[in-house]
């Protein structure tokens, strides 16, 4: 019996569709069937687009029949986090305040995906306005980890991570502000890339913290990650912070070995997590260092002396920007309104009822940090510390080519285990946040599994706009390990469609 279609790589599927060996419609139908079976169990989607996906796939097949050359993602189903706008399709950001909202425009990445002939199959669940680490802050539903249904998939892009892990799609997009792609990727045993800030246009990504937000892909292999990143990156005139320096990655380059490569290891950062660092993570980290060394890399000790201040910095900068970004949800032009007396009553009722606890907490925190009398002590100081953190990374990446860090202190935790204490939840972001503040690219890759069978991910951090090197390192690891190629039982239980 051959491997099920849904386990195949995006690269292979796109090639088959482009050559006419498979139809885009067949590929789409297979993944839709997989999601029909698993998505209700996992709670991955807030909105599925089965009909339009099939229509789009058939249109791609017709274009091929007419002799047109198809794009790099020909017929590949892709899911989008529900904070990425698709014209006419509900976009809630996991929030009640956007219930019923349908954007009248497409995000830049949606245009790019369509231009590459990908097929958009739905909007995935996430923490409300991307604020959270477990997807439990969604106002609509809880998403489960495909490896263990009692565990969270991570967050905030938990739906997008889980849907790729469960082979409901080969590829998906999330957004990463402080780790929201990388952390759920690690929890779900898939790749998650946070591109360099400015590599992918944010046009059409509902803002959480503008100076940190980046759209990033989930995939099940290093090559597939490179494939979709290449389709999305580059300058967009509608985002002034987007940059032309971001270039597509040549897949063949990923196959180069690691001879002469310098892997920077900021070992001191492990101590920052203190007792919170699971032995399984530490073990995987040490094992990976040895593996890279065996593969020909030189290990370089580096320091990120200010990384320990990253969480404090982040929880001033991100809420401050968020408090302003979320001011537009005022019940005037879109979304759900609650009327109570005069205009002010309408504002307060609409926002009070529309936002969940975590979002309110961050709006309050950010409003406070920006308010008169506190700006210098909080926001401005945090921005200065941010300068120091960025410099740490750029310095470390002078003496090494890529850094290796953990991404999470533990594997996936249980649903409802951590929601009570916000500060404890924030502290678990210690490994993901520094790269976010520095604006450098970072990749979470599947490294191994713990004793209970939960995936463990590790993180590579690269130089600005050098996503290619990180992916090459991850690919070298992937060649020697099977962590990336394993699929959870739920993904294969249904047979997954004929090959």
């Amino acid at each position: 019996m051959s491997a099920p279609l849904v386990l195949e790589s995006a690269e292979a599927l796109a090639a088959a569709v482009a050559k006419g060996e498979r139809s885009a419609a067949d590929v789409t139908r297979a993944f839709l069937a997989q999601a029909d079976r698993t998505a209700p169990i996992l709670g991955t989607y807030l909105h599925r687009l089965a009909e339009s996906a099939l229509r789009d796939a058939e249109a791609i097949d017709r274009r091929r029949a007419k002799g047109e050359t198809l794009g790099a993602l020909a017929g590949v189903p892709v899911a989008l986090k529900d904070n990425i706008c698709v014209r006419g399709v509900p976009t809630t950001c996991g929030s009640k305040i956007l219930e019923g909202y349908r954007p009248p425009y497409d995000a830049h990445v949606v245009e790019r995906l369509r231009a590459a002939d990908a097929v958009i199959v739905g909007k995935t669940n996430c923490d409300e306005f991307a604020m959270g680490s477990s997807t439990e802050n969604s106002a609509y539903q809880v998403t489960k980890n495909p490896w263990n249904l009692e565990c969270v998939p991570g967050g905030s892009s938990g739906g997008s991570a889980a849907t790729v892990a469960a082979c409901e799609v080969p590829l998906s997009l999330g957004s990463d502000t402080g780790g929201s792609v990388r952390q759920p990727a690690a929890f779900c045993g898939v790749y998650g890339l946070k591109p360099t800030y400015g590599a992918v246009s944010r046009y059409g990504l509902v803002a959480f913290a503008s100076s940190l937000d980046q759209i990033g892909p989930f995939a099940r292999s290093a090559r597939d990650t490179a494939l979709i990143h290449s389709a999305l990156c580059g300058r967009d005139a509608r985002d002034m912070t987007s940059r032309a320096d971001a270039r597509p990655i040549a897949l063949d380059g990923l196959e180069k070995d690691l001879t002469g490569f310098r892997l920077g290891v900021p070992r001191a950062i492990l101590d920052e997590a203190g007792a919170g660092l699971a032995p399984s993570i530490r073990a995987a980290f040490e094992a990976a260092i040895s593996a890279f060394e065996r593969a020909g890399a030189t290990i370089v000790d580096v320091a990120l002396p200010h990384a320990r201040y990253a969480i404090a910095t982040y929880y001033l900068v991100a809420p401050a920007e968020a408090s302003s970004n979320l001011a537009r949800y005022d019940g005037v032009r879109y979304g759900a309104r609650r009327s109570e007396g005069d205009l002010r009553g309408m504002y307060e009722a609409t926002r009070g009822a529309g936002f969940g606890r975590e979002v309110k907490r961050r709006i309050l925190l950010g409003t406070y940090a920006l308010s008169a009398g506190y700006y210098d002590a909080y926001y401005l100081r945090a921005q200065k510390v941010r300068t120091l953190i960025r410099k740490d990374f750029l310095d470390a990446l002078e003496v090494s080519d890529t850094l290796l860090l953990p991404i999470t202190p533990t594997p996936a935790f249980k649903i409802a285990e951590k929601t009570d204490d916000p500060l404890a939840m924030y502290l678990s972001d210690i490994f993901s946040i520094p790269a976010s503040l520095a604006g450098v690219p970072a990749l979470s890759f599947p490294a191994s599994f713990d004793a209970s069978g939960l995936p463990i991910g590790l993180q590579l951090v690269g130089r600005p706009f050098d996503e290619a090197t990180m992916l090459r390192v991850a690919r070298a690891y992937e060649r020697e390990h099977d962590a990336a190629s394993r699929a959870p039982a739920i993904a294969t239980a249904g047979g997954g469609g004929a090959r």
Partner: protein, 495 residues
């Protein structure tokens, strides 16, 4: 809330020095909004010039309009401000239905331009009004509050104006009276219109002004408590409102009261300033650098390139006209009201070779017609070259002043030049000796009484006879030659 009408006496006024600073918002004449490519046409149907960006939809980002930066820098250069090589946009956070994002993108601690100033005349003396800063920002939309039925109270929002580029020009507190404020605004408007960066139209809101007013006992250095007056929709209202507020503050202090820092709204129908309903909380705009826009970094050569393209500004132009054309300062002031008027004048003066006569014709005849019709000089029906020809004909005696005025009237309605009209309407001057002699004989014959009186030595009657002859010729007779002919004929008959 009504406040008691208070007025100060001249005696009271003498004891205080008013201190006034103005904040002027000028709408830049760009084709598109400051952060999105929507049109900025005034008066479009509600919510037709909108897009995801200016509607503040989730997920959109601002992209800075290059022309808006150019226009703001040009204004800064024109008033001698320092143009900062780096300026930063900031978010000003507050809630209002016509502010779609819940914040206005403006500039805060790093504005585009700082310093500079403009010169005005106050009581005939030249005076410099310093500028604090000029910064770029976006306009808000419009909230309309229709007079509803009792109990029905809603606001309607039109976002066409949301995102239209503005510059805010903040003056130093150098202004001392309503009249100076008026002069300052007039000058500022003249500058932005000369630069062609703003149309200067106050009715359409292209120029808006808020005034900060305080008074202090003469000789005191410390400023008094200031109030801010908003809703000043014309330069005259600004002048009136400031005069009103100065008097109110003086009378209040004189009666033992204290000025409270507050915002007032000018009611132009009733000529009073009233307290705006006070806000429930003090403003806390929570400014921070706009992360969606990068700092505006200007290269020296770009700024210098712009400086070279600046048109001649009103002060320089006025001085040049005085110097080159030799006309009085007053004439130059009137003729430089706009760039096109000055250009019109220069053409008339050059063509006719008569700078002062050209100025007279424009200041009296041309401006009288324009005042009546509301024409700008660009829409004025007589071309400058034609008026130049006419002035030249007057100067050379080709036509009399009277004929010239007739020609001017004809030219208003005709595309023809003065020479063609002279031919067409038979307005050629009568210069021929025989014709003039015939005319003289005819007039004397028709006026036997006055003729006899003249001959009896009543010299005064001569003017009457000249007038009659001129009338008879419909003004065409050459004045000097006509007089000579009359005297000749009168002399002949007597001898």
């Amino acid at each position: 809330m009504n406040r008691p009408a208070m007025s100060a006496t001249d005696e009271m006024r003498a004891k205080y020095e008013p201190v006034i600073g103005l904040e002027v918002h000028a709408q830049l004449k760009t084709k598109t909004k400051i952060f999105c490519p929507c049109a900025t046409t005034f008066g479009a149907s509600p919510n037709t010039q909108v897009c995801p960006v200016c509607l503040g939809l989730p997920g959109v980002l601002p992209v800075l309009n290059e022309r808006a930066v150019e226009f703001a820098v040009m204004t800064g250069l024109a008033v001698g401000a320092t143009i900062h090589p780096r300026s930063i946009f900031a978010r000003k956070n507050y809630f209002y239905p016509d502010l779609p994002k819940g914040y206005q993108i403006s500039q805060y601690d790093r504005p585009l331009c700082e310093g500079g100033g403009v010169d005005i005349y106050s009581d005939g003396e030249k005076k410099r009004i310093g500028l604090v800063r000029i910064h770029l920002e976006e306009d808000a939309g419009k909230s309309l509050h229709p007079e509803g039925k009792e109990g029905v109270s809603t606001t309607r929002v039109d976002l066409n104006r949301a995102g239209v580029p503005l510059i805010e020009i903040v003056s130093e507190p150098d202004i001392r009276s309503g009249a100076e404020a008026y002069a300052y605004l007039t000058k500022l408007k003249q500058i932005v219109v000369y630069l062609d960066v703003c149309d200067g139209n106050m009715e359409e809101g292209s120029l808006r002004c808020d005034a900060n007013v305080s008074v202090r006992p003469r000789g005191q250095e410390k400023f008094g408590t200031k109030t801010e007056i908003k809703n000043l929709n014309s330069f005259r209202y600004v002048e009136k409102a400031i005069a009103y507020e100065i008097d109110r503050q003086i009378a209040l202090i004189e009666s033992g009261g204290r000025v409270v820092q507050e915002t007032l709204l000018w009611d132009s129908a009733r000529n009073v300033a009233e307290t705006m309903r006070s806000k429930e909380e003090a403003h806390d705009y929570r400014y921070f650098p706009e992360p969606d826009l990068l700092p505006v970094d200007l290269e020296d050569h770009w700024v210098e390139g712009l400086r070279e393209t600046l048109p001649e500004l009103p002060d320089a132009l006025r001085e040049r006209l005085v110097r080159e054309q030799g006309i009085p300062e007053y004439d130059a002031e009137v003729l430089t009201e706009t760039r096109s008027l000055a250009a019109y004048y220069e053409e008339v003066a050059t063509r006719s070779g008569q700078p002062k006569l050209a100025s007279n014709w424009i200041m009296t005849e041309v401006n009288a017609v324009r005042n009546k019709t509301g024409d700008t000089i660009d829409s004025f029906p007589i071309r400058a070259d034609r008026l130049g020809d006419l002035v030249g004909m007057v100067a050379s005696g080709r036509v009399s002043g009277k004929i010239a005025k007739q020609l001017f009237e004809l030219m208003l309605a005709s595309p023809d030049g003065p020479e063609a009209l002279v031919q067409k309407h038979g307005l050629l001057p009568i210069e021929d000796d025989a014709a003039l002699r015939a005319l003289a004989l005819e007039v004397l014959a028709a006026n036997p009484g006055p003729t006899a009186e003249f001959r009896a030595g009543k010299e005064k009657t001569f003017a009457f006879l000249v007038g009659q002859a001129m009338k008879q010729s419909r003004g065409r007779a050459h004045p000097e030659k006509l007089q000579a002919a009359l005297r000749a004929v009168l002399g002949e008959a007597a001898s």
